[in-house]
Amino acid sequence: MIEPNPHKSLFVASAQTKQRATAEKRFHMLGLTAIFIALSMLAILMTTIVAKGSGAFQQSFITLDVALLEAKLDKKGTRNPDNLKKVTTFGYAPLIKAAMEQIVVARGIETDLTSKDMAAIVSKSAAAQMRDRVLNDPRLIGTTTEFKFLANSWIDGYLKGRVTRETIGKNKNISSAQLDFADRLIELGIIEKSFNIQFILGADASDQRPEDAGIGVAIIGSFAMMCVVLLLALPIGVAASIYLEEFAPENRLTDFIEVNVANLAAVPSIVFGILGLAFFINMMHLPQSAPLVGGLVLTLMTLPTIIISTRAALKAVPPSIRSAALGVGASKMQTTIHHVLPLATPGILTGTILGLAQALGETAPLLLIGMIGYVATNMPETVSQGLLSPNSAMPAQIYEWAKRADPAFYERAWGGIIILLIFLVTMNLIAVRLRRRFERRW
């Protein structure tokens, strides 16, 4: 019976209202808990990454005065560059031993170490570093020059607390006598930790010298791939979406295309990798491990993302704008280019940048086309080298470091993740900014 009941007060909550209020409160709490869990996961992720990765940006350096003896480096005394080049890094190695002996005597350090063991705490990259500097400036020969060498990864680990006297045990790479010696050098200020720009700018290094490995060349590789993806995927994706959304007739063929584009977006990236290997490398004979090929593979992978987001952006443009343009006699193309596309730009840009960010973090397809591992030792010098000479990419480099045995590489993997995340956050910020800017203009 629907009868008004004047005796019911509004101040007394009915049983049903109470139940509803409880349910609402429960739902509220559920949402808060979910947010809290998500935020704490993020906090755990960020603190772990920063705690484990920040070490990679600091490196231990040993500052030594090295006597660049003419007798060793330029026996004829002609300073002929060709002759100087004939002296390999083996010719430079004894100079470091000599410099170490010099320090022991001059600073009165007591040690039982042989000069070879003393020199071993310096990175294996030291000889090459000296040679490069001498070849650049032959006038240094015959002088005593100050060099800032990398300490080897065990000493570096000792300074960072990763390596201790307890953990080294029977480690063949480092002895406690060497650690004692290092302690003395630290007291004297000869071994110091400082910011390591080479990690950001340098190339990967072999298994023997993790302290020398950097992610710079891989950054260039990633950058070259992103350029390829942007230049190919954006125009192709936008053109395809405009055709499908604005011009294509509605029939079975376009339905089929639509379903397939949606499916392609869900294809595992490794499938695109093996496609790239079969098509670009085996069939078209493009160079292996080249960022160009990586870019092409990532283009294939990014296209569906860009097409889907662009179509959504075009669909979101109100039909009244199209009617208005057609009504004053604009052609279909003018309507699209002058009115629909500018209004869809923020959405297209957001989709593109998110697609690029996804491509930037992709590792699996790069495994298959050889863009992984210790492939590039130097920065590419020209654009074509950047595209065609073997290189790696940031996530592939991180993966490579993570699977190497030496724990020093492990730290670099975390450091690489920090740099990768910085890139991704930057790209997302750019996406947000571009979106705001274009929206304000209209």
Binding site: S323, A324, G327, G329, S331, H338, H339
Partner: protein, 267 residues
Amino acid sequence: MNENIISHEELAMTAPTIKISARNVDVHYDKTHAIRGVSAEIPSNSVTAFIGPSGCGKSTFLRCLNRMNDTIKNCQVSGDIMLDGEDIYDPKVDPVQLRAKVGMVFQKPNPFPKSIYDNVAYGPRIHGLARDKSDLDGIVEQALRRAAIWGEVKDRLSAPGTGLSGGQQQRVCIARAIATAPEVLLMDEPCSALDPIATAQIEELIDELRQNYSVVIVTHSMHQAARISQKTAFFHMGTLVEFGDTKTVFTNPRDPQTESYITGRIG
């Protein structure tokens, strides 16, 4: 000429020339027969109102007159529609050119999200109507004056058109349609989204536009049709039931259906 719809005498009295003449127009959407054998002659320099209940086909017929139906999928138009004696559905006709001649104003004001100036200048630009910037400025000013909005916007031509009030937006849209130098203006319920004051302004404007254009207006308001039009066409269920002088249609309708509608019994 379809005798039972309009007589020659009636036509000769009020309208010296015929601007658009439609003969046996049928429109199909998929399986729906939206317009059935409509024939009508729309005189120049006058206001013709299309009235009728929702879904009667008046908007569909209006959109046939500038081929806006072309953009709707599965829409089939048959029959002849002549503009100044030329068949607008002839394969040689580019709808783009037709729409410059037959402008359209829509139900909801739909200015482009650009400046007021760019809104009005868009048509002349794409049709190459202006020789230079000052010429274009002149066209924009003239169009805005004719749309009775110049005084309100002349100081803020670079402000976005979407920032105006509904009535102002609709007048900017009328100016935009006028700027392509059309001969016919089609208006699809131009006042349905506006308040009474804005409606009165637009109605006054339509009456003035009659001097230069043939205006065809679809309206749900019979009062509006009676106020501003010289000719009225009553559509029902896709057919043109009655077409004649507005006075005659409202005071002495020939068809009982028309009478029922204007007295409020159907609709």
